[in-house]
Amino acid sequence: MNVGRDRWMNVGRSAESDAARAGSEAAAVAVNGREAALLVVFCSHEYDHAALLRAVNEQSGGAPLIGCSTAGEIATDGPGDASAVVVAFGGDGFCASTSVSRGASSDLRAAGADVANAVASLNGGHDERVLLLLTDGLAGDQQEVVRGAYGVAGAAIPLVGGCAGDGLEMKSTVQFHGSEVLTDSVVSAALGSDGPLGIGVRHGWRKVGEPMLVTKASYNRVYSLAGEPALDVYLDRLGAPEEARHDPAAFTRFALTHPLGLDRRSGEEHVRFIGEADFEERSIISIAEVPQGGLAWFMEGDSDSVLRATDAACADAVDALGGSAPLGVLAFDCIARRGVLGEEGIKAEVDRVSERVGNAPVAGFYTYGEFARTRGISGFHNQTLVVMAVG
C-alpha cells in the first residue's frame, strides 16, 4: 500500500435555484482549485441538468464525473431538497474510471456487466477498489444490474450506490456521465484508493404479526397473501387509517413506513417497499420482485429503530476501516426511511452520521433503492441505509 500518496475528499453544496450557479458554487468548494480524480454529483430533479453539468465541468476542468437526480440531497450540513451536492476525490492516492450503459431497461443484466468493465480500467496500483453504481430505478429489476456487474467485477470488488430519484414523483429520473444527461441508464465509477473503504448496511424495520405465504404474485405485484386479497390483508393486519383505504396518495404515505419483509437464509429479511395499491383488483405493488410461494411479513419502523440502524450502519462502515479515521462518507439512504423520520428526523439523522464518522465530510442522497454487495452475491436493497466510509 502506498501510504505516502496524497488523498483528499471534499463536499460542496449549493441551494442556488439557478442551475449554472448551483453547479459552479458546489463544484468550486468540492474541487477547491485542485485536480480531482472523480466527481460525483447529486442534485434535485428540477434543475436544468445540462447547464448544471457544464458549470461543474468548468470548475473541475472536465474531471471524470457521474451523478444523478434525487429524492433529496445529503451533505455535511444536513439534508436538502432543492440543492446540488458535489463530492470530489483527489490526490495520487485515488484513481477512478467511469462508464455508462444507455437504454439499460432493454437488458439490465448486460448494462450491469457493461459498466463493471470500469474496474478493469483502473491502473494506478491502488489496493482498495469499489464500484459505485447509480441507476434508473424506474427501469426494472435492479438485482439484474447487480448480477451483471458481479459477473464481471467478481467477488473481490464491493458494489455500492443507489437508484436515482425524482422527488417522489415516480415519473422520470436522470443520471449523469461526464457532460451527458441520461435517463434509463446505468452509470458507474470504479474508485481505487490507497486507504481502506468500509461499507455498512442496515434497515431498522421490525416484523409485525405472523408470517404469511405469498399465495399469488407476479414479478412485483402481489395479488394474494395467505389466500386472501393482498391489499385487504395489508390494510387490515396493519390497521391502516381510513384514508389509506381509498386514496392512492394516502396509501403511498402509509405504505412508506410499512414495507414487506421476505425470508432469507440467515434469518435477516430482505425489505421490499410497497409503492402503490390497485384498489380495483385488491393487489399491492412493490418496486422489486416478490416471489410467489415465498414467506413474507409486514414490517414497521419508527424513528427510534430507523436511527438505531443509522448508528449501526455508520459504526459498521467505520469499524471496517480498521482504525484509520474517515476522510469522508457517501450515504445512500432510502426515501422510505426519510418518510419515517420526517423533516426534523432526517436533520437529526445526517447530524448523527456526521458525528459517528468524526465530523468528516458527508455526501449522499435519498434513493429509490440501494446497492451494497460486500458478501454473497445479492446486493440490491430496499428501505435501507448504505454508508461507505473512505479511510
Binding site: V152, A155, G294, R375, I377, S378
Partner: protein, 738 residues
C-alpha cells in the same frame, strides 16, 4: 432455517431455472441462483471435464484447474481473487446430464441442510438441462415439454397438489404416447396401503376397484416397496388388476419425500409391441421427480400454515387460532347453546425457574405444562399458549359452574405433581382464572386474565372465577402503583427511625430507617402494601436509592452534632437491589457525597437473599464490607438457612424475629429458638438484635441470655427525624425502664 427453508429455496430455484430457454443461459442462471440461495460468492458448473460457466470470478481469473479438482472430489477449496481460499462444495447434476455444480463461500461452514439443498439444486438443474436438450433434438415433443414447464410453474406457484399431480400423469402419458398413467401415494395413517390420487385413462369401474390397494402389489406397489424404477413388458403375466383389460406393458418410478419413498408414478400401454427403454426410463424419472417436489412442497405449505397457527415450542394452538376458535364457539353459543368458559393459566414463579435452571429448563417446564393441561380437558376443548408462561383453555358448552370448577381443580392437582427438569425435581403451581359467558371473545379472555390475577395475588396455586368486582380491585392496585410512582418521583415519602438500644445500658446505638407513605388522596398506605407493589412494578430500585440517600444524609447530620456518639443507621436492602451490578459503587458514592463514614451504615438483608447462595451476592456483600459497611440479617431463623451461610457470608449482626422474642418469656422451653440464635451468634462472634421487644420482662431475659441489642415498642416506636433528634440530643440516650 431448516428443511422448510431449503424446500422453499428449491422451489424458487426450480421456478428460476425453468424460465431459461437455452442450455447456456440455464447453466449460468442455475449457478448464479445456487450462489444466491446459499449466499455464496462464487459458483461454477463443470461438464465433460470443462468449466462451462462460473460466477464471481473476474474474466480471465477463473481457477479452472482447482474447479476441476473440486468437481472430481480431490479438492475442497478454491482460491477466489480478493477473498483468498474459500471452502467449496459440490453436487452432481442429474444422471442424464453428467456434470457437477460447485458453490464456494468465504465463510464456509456449509450445514447439512445446505448440502441437501445443493444436491437438490444440482438434480433440478440437470433435469432442466436434459429437457432443454430433448427440446432441441425432438421438436415434435415441444408441446409436451411445455406441459412439463407448466408443471414447474404450478409447483412454484403452489397450485393444489392434486392439480399438479394430475398435470404430471397427463404430461407423462402424453409425452410417452401411452394411454394409462397414475400417481399412487402411500396413506399417512396406514403405510401398508396406497391410494390413487391422480390418473388418466382409467375407467370409473377400474378406478373404483383399484383406488386403494396394498403396497407391494402391482407394478406401482413394487416401485414403492423396492424404491426403484421397475418395468414389465409382459404385463399380462403379472398378477395385476388392469391385466384383464389387456394392458401389455408398464413402467413405474418411485416418488420421494425427504429421501423416503412415498408413492409411485406408473405408465402403461395396451399396445402389444410396446417396449420401455432408457429414453422412457429417463423421461418417467423426470416426471416422478417433479411429483416428488410437488409432494414435498405441499407438505411445506401445510407446515407453514400450521406454524402460523401454532406455538412452535409446545405445538399448541397460538393466540390467533385460539381467538378464532373462541369466536366461532361464541357465535354458536349465542344460538341457544350453553355458555362458554375460558380458563387463563399462569405458571407461578416461572421467572425463577428460568433464572435458576436456565431457559432450556424453562422451555421443558412449559412443554410439561402444555402436556398436562391437555390431559385435563375434555375432547373438543382447546388448550392454547398465549406466549411466555401463559396458557388458555377454551371449554365449549359447560353445563354448570360445577363442571368448570371440577376441571379447574383437576388442572391445579395435575400441575402440582412434581416434575423433573434437568435432573432436578421441581414442584410447580399455577394460578387459574375462569370467566364464563357469552360476551365477546376478547372480553372473556380479559376477564379470565383478571380472575387469574386475583388468584395470583391471593396466594397463588389456586383458581378464581371472574366477578365484576375483581376488575375494581385491579383498578385499585393500578391506581396505587401510579400514585407510588409519583410519590417516589415527587419526594412524597418520608422516613421514620426506630431506635436500637444496648440491652445493658439502654443507650441508642443504632436506628433502623423505615419508609412511610401518606398519599394526599389515598391517605396512609402501610409498607406491607406498597413494598410488594414497588417490587412487582420495578419501583424498588428508585425507592431503595431514595431511602438510602435520605437515611445516610440524616445520619450524617446527627454525626455532625454528636460525633462518634451518633448512632449508626440501618437501611433495608432488597434482593433485587443486591443483584444490581453497581450496588457497591452506588452505596460508596452516596456515603461519600453525604459525608458519612461507611462504618456508620448497616445494610439489612433478608435471610432469603443468603439462601439463593449466589456468588454475585457474596461478592456484593464482601464489597460492602470492604467499604466498612456492616451487614445485618433480618428475621434470622425463619428461612431455614443453613449454618454454612454464617461462615460463608460476611455478616456482623443477626436480628432475632419478633415471634421468637414473643416466646422468650413464656413458660420454659419456648425460649429455645431465641437462645439458639444467640448461642450461634456468640460462636461466630456476631452481635444480636432482638426485634419487637414489647415487655420489660423480655428485655431482661434476653439480656440474661446474652443478647446484645434490642428494638421494639418497649424502648421506642418509630419516630420522625425531629423526634429522634430530641431523643438523641436531649438525654444522650433513651431511658427505658428495665
Amino acid at each position: 432455517m431448516g428443511r422448510n427453508w431449503s424446500t422453499q429455496q428449491l422451489v424458487e430455484f426450480l421456478a428460476a431455472v425453468s424460465s431459461f430457454g437455452d442450455e447456456g443461459a440455464a447453466t449460468r442462471g442455475g449457478a448464479e441462483r445456487a450462489a444466491e440461495a446459499l449466499e455464496a460468492e462464487v459458483a461454477a458448473v463443470v461438464r465433460d471435464d470443462r468449466v462451462v460457466t462460473s460466477v464471481g470470478f473476474p474474466p480471465g481469473e477463473v481457477p479452472e484447474q482447482e474447479l476441476l479438482e473440486v468437481a472430481r472430489g480431490t479438492r475442497r477449496d478454491v482460491g477466489v481473487p480478493g477473498l483468498g481460499v474459500c471452502e467449496a462444495v459440490r453436487a452432481p447434476l442429474d444422471e442424464s446430464v453428467p456434470g457437477t455444480l460447485i458453490v464456494s463461500r468465504c465463510d464456509g461452514g456449509f450445514s447439512s441442510e445446505e448440502l441437501d439443498l445443493l444436491r437438490g439444486m444440482g438434480r433440478v438443474l440437470g433435469l432442466n438441462l436434459g429437457m432443454i436438450r430433448a427440446l432441441e433434438s425432438l421438436q415434435q415433443r415441444q408441446r409436451l415439454l411445455e406441459t412439463l414447464a407448466g408443471i414447474h410453474r404450478m409447483i412454484s406457484r403452489r397450485a393444489p397438489l392434486t392439480d399438479v399431480l394430475q398435470a404430471v400423469v397427463e404430461g407423462a402419458a402424453g409425452l410417452l404416447g401411452d394411454s394409462v398413467a397414475s400417481v399412487r401415494l402411500v396413506e399417512q395413517d396406514d403405510p401398508s396401503t396406497m391410494t390413487i390420487v391422480a390418473q388418466t385413462g382409467m375407467t370409473d369401474e377400474q378406478l373404483e376397484r383399484l383406488r386403494r390397494t396394498p403396497v407391494g402389489e402391482g407394478l406401482g406397489g413394487r416401485a414403492i416397496a423396492e424404491g426403484r424404477v421397475v418395468v414389465t413388458n409382459e404385463y399380462g403375466e403379472m398378477p395385476g388388476a388392469l391385466a384383464d383389460r389387456g394392458l401389455q406393458a408398464a413402467i413405474a418410478a418411485p416418488v420421494h419425500d425427504s429421501g423416503r419413498t412415498v408413492g409411485a408414478l406408473v405408465v402403461g400401454s395396451y399396445d402389444g409391441d410396446r417396449r420401455y427403454g432408457s429414453h422412457e426410463h429417463d423421461t418417467l424419472v423426470a416426471f416422478a421427480e417433479h411429483a416428488s417436489l410437488a409432494v414435498s412442497d405441499a407438505k411445506l405449505a401445510d407446515a407453514l400454515v400450521y406454524q402460523a397457527l401454532h406455538d412452535s415450542l409446545t405445538g399448541l394452538p397460538n393466540r390467533s387460532l385460539f381467538m378464532d376458535r373462541l369466536g366461532h364457539c361464541l357465535a354458536r353459543s349465542t344460538r341457544g347453546m350453553n355458555p362458554v368458559a375460558v380458563m387463563y393459566i399462569d405458571v407461578d414463579g416461572f421467572k425463577s425457574v428460568n433464572d435458576s435452571l436456565g431457559h432450556a429448563a424453562g422451555d421443558e417446564l412449559l412443554v410439561t405444562v402444555a402436556g398436562r393441561l391437555d390431559s385435563c380437558v375434555r375432547p373438543g376443548d382447546t388448550v392454547a399458549r398465549l406466549g411466555g408462561d401463559e396458557f388458555v383453555v377454551l371449554l365449549e358448552e359447560v353445563d354448570s359452574q360445577e363442571e368448570t370448577r371440577r376441571i379447574a381443580e383437576r388442572v391445579l392437582e395435575e400441575l402440582r405433581k412434581p416434575c423433573t427438569l434437568h435432573g432436578q425435581e421441581v414442584i410447580m403451581t399455577v394460578s387459574v382464572g375462569i370467566a364464563v359467558g357469552r360476551e365477546g371473545a376478547a372480553e372473556l379472555v380479559r376477564n379470565a386474565d383478571v380472575a387469574m390475577y386475583r388468584a395470583k395475588s391471593t396466594g397463588k396455586g389456586r383458581y378464581e372465577v371472574f366477578e365484576p368486582g375483581m376488575r375494581d380491585r385491579i383498578v385499585e392496585r393500578v391506581t396505587l402503583e401510579r400514585h407510588l410512582r409519583r410519590a417516589i418521583e415527587g419526594d412524597e415519602l418520608t422516613l421514620a427511625y426506630q431506635p436500637i438500644v444496648r440491652l445493658d445500658s439502654g443507650e441508642i446505638v443504632s436506628v433502623e430507617a423505615l419508609a412511610r407513605w401518606t398519599d394526599p388522596e389515598l391517605g396512609v398506605v402501610p409498607p406491607n402494601r406498597f413494598i410488594p407493589i414497588a417490587e412487582e412494578a420495578g419501583l424498588i430500585l428508585p425507592l431503595g436509592a431514595w431511602v438510602l440517600r435520605q437515611a445516610v444524609r440524616q445520619a450524617a447530620k446527627w454525626r455532625g452534632r454528636l460525633g462518634d456518639a451518633a448512632p449508626t443507621v440501618s437501611v433495608n436492602v432488597s434482593g433485587i437491589e443486591l443483584e444490581q451490578a453497581d450496588v457497591v459503587a452506588r452505596v460508596s458514592e452516596t456515603l461519600h457525597e453525604e459525608g458519612l463514614p461507611a462504618a456508620s451504615l448497616v445494610v439489612e438483608i433478608t435471610e432469603t437473599v443468603l439462601m439463593d447462595d449466589s456468588n454475585h451476592v457474596r461478592a456484593t456483600l464482601a464489597g460492602l464490607r470492604d467499604l466498612g459497611v456492616q451487614i445485618a440479617v433480618d428475621d434470622f431463623g425463619t428461612g431455614y438457612s443453613s449454618l454454612q451461610f454464617l461462615s460463608r457470608f460476611p455478616i456482623d449482626v443477626l436480628k432475632i424475629p419478633k415471634p421468637f422474642v414473643d416466646d422468650v418469656d413464656a413458660p420454659s422451653g419456648s425460649s429455645a429458638l431465641a437462645r439458639a440464635i444467640i448461642d450461634l451468634a456468640e460462636n461466630f462472634s456476631l452481635r444480636t438484635v432482638a426485634e419487637g421487644v414489647e415487655q420489660p420482662g423480655q428485655a431482661l431475659t434476653l439480656r440474661t441470655l446474652g443478647c446484645t441489642w434490642g428494638q421494639g415498642y418497649h424502648f421506642a416506636r418509630p419516630v420522625d427525624s425531629d423526634a429522634l433528634g430530641e431523643l438523641l440530643y436531649g438525654a444522650g440516650a433513651a431511658s427505658p425502664q428495665m
